[in-house]
């Protein structure tokens, strides 16, 4: 049975790869994919923590279930976010004929 720290390190590695991708890429679809990657690493960490404190007599089963239900709601919010975000990318492509993330600069004016 693995220790909790290996799951923490795995989730931190996935999250930081997502951060690097969101900072260095200019294609807005890939930036969006990196955000999905970060959400998934946090989900993995929540599930790992839900299996952490199961050693007592009662086993804290209720709070462990809460963590997994949080993961379920995070997935719901991610699905809604993806549908709106992809609609924004399509609209940006239609107006500027490009999906470069720097074209969003013109939102300033």
């Amino acid at each position: 049975m693995p220790e909790i720290k290996w799951y923490i390190f795995l989730a931190v590695a996935l999250f930081c790869i997502g951060v690097v991708g969101a900072l260095t890429r200019r294609n807005s679809i890939i930036v969006f994919l990196c955000i999905e990657l970060m959400l998934n690493s946090v989900n993995l960490l929540l599930v790992a923590f839900s299996k952490m404190h199961m050693t007592g007599k009662l086993g804290n089963a209720l709070s462990a279930m809460d963590a997994q239900i949080f993961v379920f709601f995070i997935m719901i919010v991610a699905a809604a976010e993806v549908s709106v975000g992809l609609a924004i990318i399509v609209m940006m492509y239609r107006n500027t004929k490009s999906i470069d993330i720097n074209f969003l600069n013109r939102l300033k004016n």
Partner: protein
């Protein structure tokens, strides 16, 4: 090394290789395919941790619905006419250094936490569909219903944003 540990290392390596491939690939289609590999590896982790409900939901929602939506949008946009312009090399190096610094700080801070050596109890039945469903429809029924309103508003918002504007507006 037991079978559980072997599976853990295999799935972790698969997830990290897939994530690096998704971030590093030029073509967004390849990035989507690598990200599907990552999602299957994470679902494997959920099965390993005996959270079957989340494993199934992860495959259906992420690898099924969301990635299909991404591929649909990528095929809708013709990327061959507009290749990605190269970013400033200093900005790229700065992004990589910032991400690595974040990883170093988090790992070194969390490695010496008090609970870092707690062994996970993987075989418990918390993640089974029966118990999660009972809890979702008793204590969490109001957030569950509100999420349906969220989906409705997201759907209407996507339709309104993606709608073609009339010509006389210009």
């Amino acid at each position: 090394m037991t079978t559980t540990q072997l599976l853990f290392w295999f799935l972790s390596a698969l997830a990290i290789i897939g994530a690096i491939g998704a971030v590093g690939s030029k073509n967004p289609i390849y990035a989507v395919l690598w990200l599907i590999v990552v999602f299957f590896a994470i679902s494997g982790h959920y099965v390993l941790m005996n959270a079957q409900f989340l494993a199934i939901v992860n495959i259906i929602v992420y690898a099924g619905a969301i990635m299909v939506l991404f591929t649909f949008v990528i095929m809708f946009i013709d990327l061959n006419e507009h290749p990605e312009m190269p970013k400033n090399i200093y900005l790229k190096a700065g992004g990589i250094i910032a991400g690595l610094c974040l990883m170093i700080v988090l790992v070194s801070a969390l490695a010496r936490a008090d609970n870092a050596h707690t062994v996970l109890q993987l075989g418990t039945g918390v993640g089974l569909i029966k118990y999660l469903g009972e809890r979702l429809f008793s204590d969490y029924v109001i957030p569950f219903e509100i999420s349906s309103v969220l989906f409705l508003s997201a759907m209407i918002g996507a339709v309104i944003i993606g709608k073609k504007e009339p010509e006389q507006a210009t």
